[in-house]
């Protein structure tokens, strides 16, 4: 019996008159990697931001394990500790070293002592292959390295689930591989992940399920095999074809 970590029910989000999505349902089970794909402006980022409570949905509920995090009076800061977020533009803290970036949450949120935090942060940095860059500032790191620090920063909080919002789309093609490799390893280690990406190679290989979103609706979801080889809807086939064509080239270059 799979255990749901993240349960999204009837989620509706509007910005003014603009309905981003309506009555959206999605469940992420423990250890699963769910890849969300879909055209630009479909609400993929907005969905992740709702999950992390960076924006409030208008209606519907989200549960993290058994806790309804959308309930009134939830301690948002408490919830966010348990949800890791990796941003498209990395968003590292530019005034802190790689180590400092990973340590900040450990000392200030988890209240670890300085030594404990350093030890844990170094461990997380080595997980993403950057222990030797611990004392570098973000401005001294490549985009791929910055994103890996971003992943380490989120991992350090021991999150229940990791959210990735197009983690490689701001990267030069030759740097995409190293970030995907870290994510692949994470998935293998059993991390629960919700990933928005255009990297179809990653989706095909790592995803337990692929969710195709368009215009605020989930058009279709299924295993990579179902989605790539026998999708139920023409729209899914078209989109996957287009995206593989478009990004497949970039991916080849990266290898």
């Amino acid at each position: 019996m799979p255990k749901p970590i993240l349960t999204i029910k009837n989620l509706t989000k509007t910005y003014g008159q603009n309905v981003i999505f309506q009555n959206l349902d999605l469940t992420v089970n423990e250890g699963d990697t769910i890849v969300i794909i879909g055209p630009s402006g479909t609400g993929k980022s907005t969905l992740l931001r709702c999950v992390n409570l960076l924006t409030r949905p208008n209606e519907g509920q989200i549960w993290l394990d058994d806790l309804e995090i959308t309930a009134k009076g939830t301690d948002e800061d408490q919830v966010r500790q348990h949800i890791g977020m990796v941003f498209q533009n990395f968003l590292l803290f530019n005034h802190l070293t790689a180590l400092g970036n990973v340590k900040l949450g450990l000392t200030r949120v988890k209240h670890l002592s300085d030594e404990e935090a350093t030890e844990k942060a170094l461990h997380e940095l080595s997980r993403v292959g950057l222990a030797d860059r611990a004392d570098h500032y973000p401005g001294q790191l490549s985009g791929g390295q910055q994103q890996r620090v971003g992943i380490a920063r989120a991992l350090a909080m021991d999150p229940r689930v990791m959210l990735f919002d197009e983690p490689t789309s701001a990267l030069d093609p030759e740097l995409i591989g190293e970030v995907l490799e870290v994510m692949r390893k994470l998935a293998l280690d059993g991390m629960t992940m919700l990933v928005v990406t255009h990297e179809m190679g990653f989706a095909r290989e790592v995803a337990d399920r692929i969710v195709f979103m368009e215009k605020g609706y989930i058009v279709e979801e299924g295993s990579p095999d179902e989605m790539f080889n026998h999708p139920k809807f023409d729209r899914t086939r078209e989109f996957l074809w287009k995206i593989t064509e478009l990004y497949g080239k970039k991916e080849k270059e990266a290898e």
């Binding site: 500790q81 977020m85 968003l91 803290f93 401005g139």
Partner: protein, 225 residues
């Protein structure tokens, strides 16, 4: 030329005493202005609507009226309401309250430039809003503000000269006294100008040092000075 250089010997002590008062006025005004300016900037960026408006109004009023008028209101006006200050305290207050408005603008600009995204990154690891402001936004915003903010201490140092009008014994007041003794207005005020210039250079060097000291490798801060 020799008589002129002689002024430094003859009035050197007075000039030094006055310069000390001028530096004190600058330091206290800058400190009051920084603390209050920071609060104003934070209020404008993160406060509730009413506080944002109140802070904006404060800044508009203090930037939109002459410092001299503010000084006279504090020194001559407030006593009528039963709030009286000594000359020096009135001067500290006027300089500080005025400088706060300018410093708030420098800080607000860089807080905005650091942006909402850094705030979200901070919140995403579980920091509270105020923790994110303290540990993520301000350390970057203050560094970013430093090059343009550095105009403020220097401008303030020169602006302090107006307080001799309420008889604070600053460098300007010492100059005036020396001028009325010698009747050589040009020579004395030139000497006073030189003392101001030396202080400005020293302060400028100090600020440049501070900028170098706080610079983060790879974090690009263009200098707008």
């Amino acid at each position: 030329m020799l008589t002129w250089l002689g002024y430094f010997e003859r009035f050197g002590k007075n000039f030094l005493r006055g310069a000390g008062v001028t530096l004190e006025l600058t330091a206290v005004g800058l400190a009051i202005g920084f603390v209050l300016g920071l609060m104003l900037a934070l209020a404008r960026s993160y406060g509730p609507k009413w506080l944002q408006r109140a802070a904006a109004a404060y800044i508009a009023v203090f930037r939109g009226t002459p410092l001299l008028v503010q000084l006279f209101i504090i020194y001559y006006g407030l006593p009528e309401l039963g709030i009286a200050f000594s000359q020096n305290v009135a001067a500290y207050l006027a300089l500080g309250l005025n400088s706060a408005a300018y410093q708030a603008e420098y800080l607000r600009g860089s807080i905005n430039a650091i942006g909402a995204a850094q705030m979200e990154a901070g919140r995403s690891i579980g920091l509270s809003k105020w923790q994110a402001i303290g540990y993520v936004i301000l350390p970057q915003a203050l560094r970013l503000a430093l090059p343009s903010w550095s105009n403020e201490p220097i401008s303030l140092l020169k602006t302090t000269a107006i307080v001799f009008l309420i008889a604070v014994q600053d460098l300007m007041a010492e100059g005036k006294r020396a001028a009325t003794t010698t009747f050589d207005f040009v020579g004395i005020y030139l000497a006073v100008a030189v003392v101001y210039l030396v202080m400005v250079f020293a302060l400028d060097a100090l600020l440049k040092f501070l900028e170098r000291k706080t610079k983060i490798p790879g974090m690009d801060i263009e200098t707008r000075r």
